[in-house]
Amino acid sequence: MKVKREIVVAIAGQPNVGKSTLFNRLTGAHQHVGNWPGKTVERKEGYRDFAGYRIRFIDLPGTYSLSALGVEEQIARDFLAKEKYDVVVNIVDASNLERNLYLTLQIAELTPRVIIALNMMDLAEQKGLRINVEKLRRRLGVPIVPMIAVKGKGIEELLRTIIDVVENRIEPQLPHITYSPELEQAVDEIENIIRHRNLHRQLGYHPHWLAHKVLEEDFFVLQSIEEKDPDAYSTLTTLIEQIGKRLGGPPSVAMVQARYKLLREICAPLIEKRPVKPTLWERFDALALHPVVGPFFTLFIMLAFFVAVFSINTGFPLNYFLEWLGYPDIAVTLESYSLSGLLGEAFSSLAESMRIALADVPLWVQGLICDGIIAGVGAVVSFAPLIFLIGLGIGALEDSGFLARAAAVMHRPLKPLKIAGKGFIPLLLGFGCNVPSVMMCRGLYRECERRNCALIAGLVPCQARLAVILAIVTAIFSTPLAQIAVITSLYVVALLLLWVIGVLFAHTLFRREPSAQLVIELPPYRAPFVGNVLMYGWNLTKHFLKKAGTIIFLLAILMWFSLSYGPAGFTEDPSLSYAALLGHALTPFTRVFGASHWVLVLALITGFIAKEAVIETVALAAGTPSISEALGKLGVTPLQAYSLLLVVTIYIPCLATIATIWSETRSWRYVLLTILYMTGIALLLATLVYQLGAWLGF
């Protein structure tokens, strides 16, 4: 079928109304996920060929309104006010009509070409609501398509309606809101100033709409006016103050009230309500939100999810548990049959067979292919299953309504970090791996929360660091009590630091942001929609492989080069490499925190590739597979070991985490800041501990 022409349709709607479901139903697999330019907000785009048209759908962020309270609102309304599109599909929750139509009225201020997708008709029925759709359609003057997106009901009709509007068979005409005469007069006064000063041209908005926003004291609009024309700004703010005095309150309040008043008039006569009993699941909320039981319950569900995903992926933490119970054989089997165990096996045997096949080529080519390229690709690919599994799990928890409850009960502890309760999810994931942890920061509500969380997420000691800690601790400290004390202290230090640094960033980098106030909608519990969960996991993995993967690969090649080349050219002995040379050169300085042997410094350098490489390097360079023998050979004292462990726990996150911080924040400044503050604090802390310990005679 030949495509007649391409049309652009924006999908707008409030959170929890089934917007992702609709988007996935409309576009299927034809979608692309990226970020809105310069923001940490996801931008989803997809297309569907229908009736000779290629319909391009842009999924706008879910927002309750178009007042610029946050980045999402700003993105949504800037798109609607400035970009070119043919139709807006406004998805509306039928069981929550009044509040949902609030957004509709705001969209109507920007464009008349609106179609309402009246979703969750089944849920409205369950809640005892019967909506007279025909009357609502006449009253609002726009096409309304009743639907149940989860079941795919109404999708075809929606597509047909889009074409009807595009081909002008239907002309949507939303009702105009009339505010009180005082407010209307105020809008006129402001609009005059705007036209006179040519502000609407400078800012690229419609003058009438801009006047409304100025009257609402919209933060972003006023800020950009102040930048462009300070004189007009002061004239306008004085005027708003006068209007406020006339009205006896802020105009923004009066405008919200006017919109809701109109909505009440529209909706009340069209909705029939009969009483229904609360469902079992709703009673369940008493447990999930209980002040004492709630956090434990949330933690329990999250831990179950955590153990399941990570055990499938690497065997951790189930393998440690099995070992502890006295089944080391099963633990080893579990590890080797875990996804990353199998992948690692596949990549190392691929490298081996390449080595045999490439027996005749120069050694450096062989090294580049087997140890550089294949290992680099392996490093990228080995993360993919983990990210996909976590995507599935988090997607399911989100879709089911569980995450909203978790966010509500976990709100308190993270409040000083200006991070809402939802932030505890990425941080918890960090104990397994920092990469999905940083990725999951995208689920937080505000830009500042996402950024702060991504900055501190690297401080959570991941599984790879635990492996290094365990290897060194068991090699150096003999009594179980000392071992437990050392491990616990490292975790306590790391988590304490996380909290302190988070608070610090909240009050410096993000000092202008208000602290996170808990106002969150608790959507009804429901079975997760499989399509959404799969698309979420798939998009997350694709995003990771494309964006972070490239950087991980390049860094891995760079590390290979620095470990395989030295002043004498290519070498198979890392102790002759540039990295070793750097280790030697740094040793006089690293002595202050106890790393007095160059091998330890080299180990810290290779630890950047992946934390577990620290152990490999020490063993390799000392020429013995036993880590305790190797540390003995290097003359490492318990104090030096402890200080080294502090560094390993806190210093620079691994290159995969660094790459992910970049791909999520799109800011080299944040990447640099993370590297600098973590390495700086690690070295400082280790030096303090080492010097103090040495002074005390340890």
């Binding site: 009509l97 933060f219 919200v256 909320d285 939100l289 106030q517 808990l518 106002v519 608790l522």
Partner: protein
């Protein structure tokens, strides 16, 4: 309308209240109002503190922090 004006955080569960005023900063006030909590709005308290306050308003369930619920002044009507 003789019922005393009290903060939402002090309302026992199961009661219906009418919002009288929101005593918060501009940003939070606007956010609450746009989510449907305005002076004159009827809502039902499902769960009081400690822990988040849960209310039902305009058919939706909202969880509010104690600090937020303290800033919404209401009258108990039923």
């Amino acid at each position: 309308m003789g019922a005393p004006v009290i903060p939402l955080a002090a309302v026992p569960p199961g009661r219906e209240v009418i919002a009288v005023a929101i005593r918060a900063g501009r940003g939070l006030t606007l956010r609450l109002m746009e989510m449907g909590i305005l002076p004159g709005t009827r809502m039902r308290v499902l769960k009081p503190p400690p822990g988040p306050v849960v209310i039902e308003v305009r058919g939706a369930r909202l969880a509010l922090g104690w600090g937020v619920a303290q800033k919404i002044l209401v009258q108990v009507v039923a």
